[in-house]
């Protein structure tokens, strides 16, 4: 899986593409860990190019949220498609990963 990364100084937007699954999740998780370790703890994961997420992808988002919050930041998800929204709701993860409609909305107080 490839993903775009845009560093806006006060936040970073990560935009994975395709299937956010057990193959792709470790790569994104490692990148999130590196960003947070470098002091970039405000992260938006733009999911508009993700057409499928599995439990490994969810696990990477949860882990990323925990590490970002531990450093005083947060991880927010934006532009999730139907499948991602359905799985977030099914797993109750929409409580900690409330999906924002757009990246701009996710940035509202940053």
């Amino acid at each position: 899986m490839s993903f775009e990364e845009v560093d806006k100084d006060t936040y970073v937007v990560l935009a994975p593409e395709g299937k956010f699954n057990m193959v792709a999740a470790p790569t994104l998780k490692t990148r999130i860990d590196d960003l947070v370790a470098a002091g970039k703890a405000r992260l938006v994961v733009d999911l508009h190019k993700v057409d499928f997420i599995d439990s490994s992808g969810l696990g990477a988002l949860v882990a990323g949220t925990k590490v970002a919050r531990k450093q005083g930041g947060d991880l927010r998800v934006a532009a999730a498609g139907d499948q991602v929204r359905a799985v977030l709701k099914l797993t109750n993860l929409d409580r900690i990963l409330a999906p924002y409609a757009t990246v701009e909305e996710a940035l509202h107080d940053w």
Binding site: N21, F52, L58, V62, D82, K89
Partner: protein
């Protein structure tokens, strides 16, 4: 491979190794089934795919010996349900059925609970040195999200 399966349903089959790269082939098999059967509700297909992939992940992740486990997927589209059979040559094991969905902080353990929530029937048995999963989602009915 496609054809008419038992009970008149259309059948789609995939055989190969249970390795990460083959997960795309499972997605493609389900996409083929959906494309050939436009009467299927996209929501049913999407949720069925979500469940089936979790079981496939489980085989890829935990099946031993790594890289040597073979699997055979069969997807059947019936008038009132969609069905998948997954047979794999991995080691004997006992899936932990009926577990609650893990809490929000958990980084793992959601695969089987997701599959169980999205399927109307999910059965596992070990027979002839092979693990057999049987997964069914009834069409146009609960459980919905």
């Amino acid at each position: 491979m496609t054809g008419d399966g038992e009970l008149g349903g259309k059948e789609y089959v995939l055989e190969g190794f249970a390795v990460p790269d083959q997960l795309d082939a499972v997605h493609s098999l389900l996409a083929q089934a959906a494309g050939d059967n436009p009467e299927l509700d996209p929501m049913d297909v999407m949720l069925f795919e979500t469940a089936v992939i979790e079981i496939a992940n489980n085989v890829v992740e935990h099946g031993r010996p790594v890289g040597e486990v073979r699997w055979r997927f069969t997807v059947r589209v019936h008038e009132d349900e969609i069905e998948a059979l997954l047979d794999d040559t991995g080691q004997q094991f006992q899936p932990r059925r009926g577990e609650d969905m893990p809490g929000e902080d958990a980084e793992g353990g959601r695969g089987l609970p997701i599959a169980e929530a999205l399927l109307d029937q999910i059965d596992f048995r070990r027979m002839d040195d092979t693990n057999h999963w049987h997964m069914v989602r009834r069409l146009g009915q609960s459980p919905q999200i």
